[in-house]
């Protein structure tokens, strides 16, 4: 089986290298490589079950067909050998009770602790290493040039769950994983729990207090166009990086001058930057900034704020608590 799979991988790599996108007629699940989707040649198996209605954990719900990122994924049976190359998806899989079906997760999937962490890389994926786990479902957050999808096309379904574009996308991705693993009920419950907590947090009102979300010590910042920035929109914060993000990329590099002059009321920094509140306060001239004067530098665990998974709402809640805090603006 292993050898056969490896051969298939080699052949499909060869096929994609030659540019002949001829779809195998026996393919049941087709993942058109992004953008170059050749719709006339793709054959999609008849959809027998709609996944959006009921689903008992495991068996009964299958076969199931789920649309992820515009492409249809059909599973004939509940997957039992899942590889997750996405720390976000790993957290979700374990949160919805699909952890037992996961055989390997990538090197950065450090949560929960009982996830089967390996040295697999989600950035520079090694197809053979993936194949050696004999997976029946692969979940990725990053698929350079559709390589993984192409390599396993026709043999193993590959699901790409890219960084969420917003709250709806975050919740939808959880439900997608629920449907794909036979844990739709748990996923729906988790999603509605998150939505409820998020709604509650959104009742906070920072009253237009300005916020600066520092991404690295060279003043790359998250604007409201980024996921981590947009999540603060409902809390009544104004983001000082928005003025610098004309391109809408979400992460402009700010000028230190502009940061000092706009004197943000709250500064958020992730633990992955290695920057502490003391480091920020010690920067020349930053002692005039409102957030420094009023001790409103919030250090957030990056694993929570940079993953669009079930724990992201904890970040929203933490910021809601900050928004509710009475801040004496003292400039």
């Amino acid at each position: 089986m292993n050898r056969r799979l490896t051969w298939l991988v080699a052949l499909s790599l060869l096929g994609s290298a030659c540019g002949s996108a001829a779809a195998d007629p026996t393919t049941t699940i087709t993942q058109p490589p992004q953008e170059t989707a050749a719709s006339p040649t793709t054959t999609i198996a008849p959809i027998t079950t709609s996944s959006t209605t009921t689903a008992a954990p495991e068996a009964a719900a299958f076969p199931v067909s789920v649309t992820v990122g515009g492409s249809e994924v059909t599973l004939e049976a509940a997957p039992t050998r899942i590889i997750s190359l996405s720390p976000t998806a790993t957290e979700t899989l374990f949160a919805i009770g699909a952890g037992d079906q996961v055989v390997a997760v990538d090197e950065y999937s450090n949560y929960p602790e009982n996830a089967p962490i390996t040295n697999l890389s989600g950035y520079t994926p090694n197809i053979e290493a993936l194949a050696s786990f004999n997976p029946d479902l692969i979940i990725v957050a990053f698929d350079p040039e559709g390589m993984i999808g192409a390599a396993f096309s026709g043999e193993v379904p590959v699901v790409s769950q890219f960084p969420a574009t917003g709250r709806d996308d975050l919740l939808a991705q959880i439900e997608q994983l629920g449907a794909l693993t036979g844990h739709l009920d748990e996923a729906v419950a988790l999603a509605s729990d998150i939505a409820a907590r998020w709604d509650l947090a959104d009742e906070a009102d920072a009253g237009g207090a300005s916020v600066y979300i520092e991404i690295d010590p060279t003043f790359y910042a998250a604007s409201s166009n980024s996921f981590v920035g947009a999540a603060l929109g409902g809390l009544g914060f104004t983001n000082i990086a928005d003025a610098a993000d004309g391109g809408g990329g979400g992460f402009p590099q700010l000028s230190a001058e502009a940061i000092i002059q706009s004197s943000p009321d709250v500064i958020i920094v992730g633990t992955d930057t290695g920057t502490t509140a003391a480091d920020i306060a010690a920067r020349p001239g930053w002692d005039t900034i409102s957030a420094v004067i009023n001790d409103q530098i919030i250090v957030i665990p990056s694993d929570i704020s940079s993953r669009w998974g079930p724990r992201f709402v904890e970040y929203v809640e933490a910021m809601a608590a900050v928004a509710n805090r009475p801040v004496t603006v003292n400039r």
């Binding site: 060279t218 590099q253 020349p284 005039t288």
Partner: protein
């Protein structure tokens, strides 16, 4: 046989002109920035710290880095008798890059001092290895050794990056080159190395002209070309390493500015070296002023501006003169 070399001394009027140009650039650069500051009605605490702790040190760093890279480039071009030589030729850039990457990747929580320290050590070490390996084969051997070692070190750096992907953004931002500095520690540290190194190059500038002659002729004049070459390369590398450690890899200045000043003031290094220093300082400060104001409050990496603005400007100069 050569006729008498052209006069070395800079016309005093030219000196005043260039000093004025540098001063004007500094004044304009101080006046412009992402923060909207009106100087006429006095400065409050925040504005004062913006100007004194961010804008001014950054401008000084730009002056020092631009002048040093340009002078170091002139030195490299002279002793290698090669117009394509630049201060990164013998592996200073690659070595600094590896040194910085090691810190970014292996000790991300190290003090901010670690990155410039390791970059400096990496640059010096890479050039020293190239010098030891390539010296016995003369100038060409030195260049080839530098290229081989650069390639090897760059591969090591790429390896470290690929195996530690999350740090790529930070390293990449360093590789493009940026003048962002907070406070005076960085520019003053660079000055400690750059003043003696660039001073030596300026003092030796007339001797650089002698590299028009081949090594045998230099020997007959009583000059040891290998020793002179090592001295020039040593000083230029020291200056380059100090600059690269502080600002990353700013492309183009060290290669093009010496050519531009050669176009303007002729072939003698007696003039090329000081004019390169002035032009390099002006060019880098002007490019950085653009980088920090054009899309304010966002910033551009200055390395992008130097290449984007410098190449067309140089082509214009090439055709004009």
């Amino acid at each position: 046989m050569r006729a008498a070399l052209p006069p070395f001394r800079l016309n005093r009027r030219h000196g005043v002109l260039w000093a004025g140009a540098v001063a004007t650039t500094v004044v304009v650069a101080i006046g412009l920035g992402a923060a909207d500051i009106t100087f006429l009605d006095g400065l409050d605490a925040a504005e004062w710290s913006i100007v004194s702790q961010w804008r001014a040190p950054r401008i000084v760093l730009g002056l020092v880095a631009g002048a040093s890279l340009a002078v170091a480039g002139a030195g490299y071009q002279a002793v290698f008798r090669n117009p394509l030589a630049d201060p990164y030729l013998l592996g200073a850039a690659a070595g600094a890059g590896l040194g910085a990457t090691i810190i970014f990747v292996l000790a991300p929580d190290a003090t901010p001092w670690a990155v410039p320290g390791f970059a400096f050590a990496g640059a010096i070490l890479a050039v020293a290895i190239a010098a030891v390996v390539g010296q016995r084969r003369g100038t060409l051997g030195l260049i080839l050794a530098g290229i081989a070692i650069s390639a090897f070190i760059s591969a090591l750096q790429t390896f470290l990056l690929v195996t530690n992907s999350p740090r790529i953004a930070e390293v990449y931002s360093w590789l493009i080159g940026r003048l962002s500095t907070a406070g005076w520690v960085e520019p003053l540290t660079v000055l400690v190395y750059v003043v003696p190194a660039v001073g030596l190059l300026v003092a030796m500038r007339r001797r650089l002209d002698l590299f028009h002659l081949d090594d045998a002729e230099l020997h007959s004049l009583g000059i040891d070309p290998d020793r002179t070459r090592l001295l020039v390369l040593g000083a230029a590398t020291l200056a380059t390493a100090a600059v690269v450690a502080a600002v990353g890899l700013i492309a183009f200045v060290g290669l093009i500015i010496p050519h531009a000043s050669r176009r303007l003031v002729g072939g003698s290094y007696g003039r090329i070296v000081p004019i390169s220093a002035a032009m390099g300082a002006i060019f880098l400060v002007a490019a950085d002023t653009f980088a920090r104001t054009a899309f304010a409050p966002a910033e551009l990496p200055v390395g992008v501006v130097t290449a984007l603005a410098g190449a067309p400007a140089f082509i214009y100069l090439l055709n004009k003169t």
